[in-house]
């Protein structure tokens, strides 16, 4: 990647961080807190995604 593209990409991602910061702050402070059971349910689903991606990797190898 050329230097100007690296700088432009980094600037763009930096602006994205700056734009997302208020939303992240809002959800951290005011967002509802999940119970242990709710987090376990979400983690189970995400683990399912991990397993599926591993399966896809094995398919293309």
């Amino acid at each position: 990647m050329e230097t100007w593209m690296k700088v432009a990409s980094a600037l763009f991602l930096g602006i994205m961080v700056w734009r997302l910061w208020p939303a992240a702050n809002h959800w951290m402070k005011n967002g509802p807190k999940g119970s242990k059971k709710e987090w376990q349910g979400a983690a189970f689903l995400l683990l399912g995604v991990v397993g599926f991606v591993i399966l896809l990797i094995m398919m293309v190898r």
Binding site: M1, E2, M5, K6, A8, S9, A10, F12, L13, G14, M16, V17, R19, L20, W21, A23, A24, W27, M28, G31, P32, K33, G34, E38, W39, G41, A42, L45, L46, G48, V49, V50, F52, V53, L56, I57, M59, V60, R61
Partner: protein
């Protein structure tokens, strides 16, 4: 009489939620088709990486500066198509790269199918169980900021293993955002189908791009 009022209000609320959901999925499916067509156009034009980067930046300028003005009018739909078209156009060079290498077509199709299965599976889970995943909001947004910070560092250091770790993180985050965004639509947290479409489109787009990156790396093509 009070009970009747509550039932009527509840029914109106459910109808409004279903309308948002239906409009979101209709607009999302049309914009995904358009996005795919724009990606094909970019491949046939053999656009450069610089042009692809310009396309992504233009797409986000539209979402940040133009969409908020039109999100409550029919012009918002035009902005959504412009945004998704530019995003589709931006992945043209990446698709050309993968399709040019042996077995690349298989990798691209696997990534496409995998993205579809993950999106449909997670969406179906939220829609059938009607569970509320809004508690994931703080975790997902902070995770996104961490991933963006890591991506900025990796632009300059270009460590392949770190790049794969970022892609794995993005896949998990986008999966979480699919649960979060869909749950927000069905629980009335998002009442604007244009904003909802843009959110879900970004989840699918990022999921596909990073799944392709991981599959490309592990298939020995990247």
């Amino acid at each position: 009489m009070d009970n009747y009022g509550q039932v009527a209000t509840g029914r109106e609320s459910a109808l409004a939620t279903n309308k948002v959901l239906r409009n979101t999925y209709i607009l999302l499916s049309m914009s995904l088709i358009f996005s795919g067509a724009m990606a094909a156009l970019a491949m046939s034009m053999q656009v450069s990486q610089g042009m692809a980067l310009g396309s992504i930046i233009a797409a986000f300028v539209l979402v940040w500066l133009v969409l908020p003005r039109f999100e409550n009018s029919s012009m918002g739909i035009v902005v959504v198509f412009a945004f998704t078209g530019l995003m589709g156009f931006s992945i043209g060079p990446m698709l050309s790269h993968y399709l040019a290498i042996p077995n690349g077509g298989n990798t691209v199709m696997t990534a496409l199918g995998g993205t579809g299965v993950i999106f449909l599976g997670l969406s179906a889970y939220v829609l059938t169980t009607r569970k509320d995943f809004s508690f994931m909001g703080g975790f997902l947004f902070v995770g996104l900021l961490v991933i963006l910070g890591a991506a900025i560092l990796n632009i300059f250091f270009s460590v392949p293993a770190f790049s794969l770790a970022i892609s794995a993180g993005v896949i998990l985050l986008m999966s979480g955002f699919i649960l979060f965004d869909t749950s927000r639509i069905i629980h009335g947290g998002e009442t604007n189908y244009i904003r909802a479409t843009v959110g879900l489109y970004l989840n699918i787009h990022n999921l596909f791009v990073h799944l392709l990156h991981i599959l490309g790396a592990f298939s020995g093509d990247d």
